[in-house]
């Protein structure tokens, strides 16, 4: 096998910063490059990844069913209708908080690896409780989604602490999880006016390498309205930003964009 599987957790601590949007777009983008990819929703009780990816009506069995041996993994996996190599493993809507345990999650991830999935994207729930810890436990790499905002940055730092302590790699003393910063909902205009933390500020505070910057954009809401990940409509700046992130993640050199304010005309500046 040329490519061993990679388990990637998309995490943040704080809710509403764009974990699910990021999981959907990165999984779709990686799969579009022909890599066999699965996105797993770890948000048991509040599943949403299926909705954002537009496959909510095709959910029959879920992650918890598989863990409890009530269904086979193949029965629970949903194959995306747009990208052939993309699959979704939906979360259940059970309220049982302890539905996920390390043994069960590990078994499912191993089976996905055996099925030849190259990228296993784990969409973490918000918080730092069990669900979030299960999502990160088996990760090789982590994408830490952060908004340029005080509570989000602080929570991301807490999550970085957990990633270095409460994961399988930390417990067995293996190589540490590779962490990447993804700054979302970024507004270059506000940064320029000194009203928002800049990329540089956040990088300095968190001290992990930058994977990309996603600009604040209406396209994110519009794409989740439709259930079509934004990355599939390449005309938007969000799609371009996520595409950059995917290519950078897969090892290509891409310059960072959407960090500087767009040039506006004289009148635009005067009356902006």
């Amino acid at each position: 096998m040329s490519n061993p599987s990679k388990v990637v957790v998309v995490t943040s601590g704080k809710g509403g910063v764009g974990k699910t949007t990021t999981s959907a777009n990165i999984a779709t983008g990686i799969a579009s490059q022909g890599k066999k990819t699965v996105a797993i929703d770890f948000d048991v009780g509040l599943r949403n990844l299926d909705l954002v990816m537009g496959c909510e009506r095709r959910v029959v069995y879920d992650f918890v069913n598989v863990i409890r041996n009530e269904a086979k993994l193949q029965q629970a996996l949903i194959r995306d209708k747009r990208v052939e190599t993309l699959h979704v493993l939906p979360a259940s809507q059970t309220r049982d908080k302890d539905a996920l345990d390390a043994e069960g999650v590990g078994r499912v991830i191993d089976e996905l690896k055996q099925m030849g999935f190259e990228y296993i994207i784990c969409d973490s729930p918000a918080g730092i409780e069990k669900g979030a810890q299960m999502a990160m436990y088996f990760a090789d790499e982590a994408i830490v989604v952060t908004n340029p905002e005080v509570s989000s940055v602080r929570d991301s730092d807490r999550v970085l602490g957990l990633l270095s302590a409460k994961t399988s790699r930390a417990e067995i003393g293996g190589a540490p999880i590779k962490t990447h910063l993804l700054l979302t909902r970024y507004s270059p205009a506000m940064v320029k006016r000194g009203e928002m933390l800049s990329v540089g500020d956040v990088l300095e505070l968190l001290g992990i390498p930058l994977l990309g910057v996603i600009p604040e954009s209406k396209a994110v809401l519009q794409s989740s309205n439709k259930g079509t990940p934004a990355i599939l409509d390449e005309t938007t700046d969000v799609a371009q930003a996520y595409l950059d992130v995917v290519f950078r993640y897969l090892g290509q050199e891409r310059q960072h964009r959407f960090i500087e304010e767009e040039k506006r005309g004289f009148f635009g500046r005067l009356f902006g």
């Binding site: 005080v150 807490r158 602490g161 302590a165 409460k166 009203e195 505070l205 005067l270």
Partner: protein, 99 residues
């Protein structure tokens, strides 16, 4: 209007955010980033032991965990009160091993 802002010198809230975050993040890292969460309890227990011999309060005992390179340093700072220490009352001394 934007051109009026040009003449106004408003305080930059982003700078404030960064300053506040630098402090809180550094403080929280001392406890959590290294995977250590017993520091507050350690501080309390040390205080209880020292208080048997010296009159001190919580602010006189600080516990810090620093990481530099591959090496972790647990720093204990115990500030003793000025002047000669009063003899500790025998009743407050810990009992010697009883077994």
């Amino acid at each position: 209007m934007a051109f009026l802002d040009y003449f106004r010198r408003a305080p930059k809230s982003a700078t404030l955010a960064k300053d506040r975050l630098s402090i809180i993040v550094a403080r929280e890292r001392a406890g959590t980033r290294a995977g250590v969460d017993y520091l507050p309890q350690l501080q309390q227990e040390l205080l209880a032991v020292i208080a048997r011999y010296e009159k001190i309060d919580l602010s006189h005992v600080t516990v810090n965990l620093d990481k530099s390179g591959g090496c972790e340093v647990l720093e204990l700072n115990i500030q003793l009160p000025d002047g000669p220490p009063p003899p500790a009352p025998p009743s407050s001394r810990p009992a010697l091993a009883q077994s």
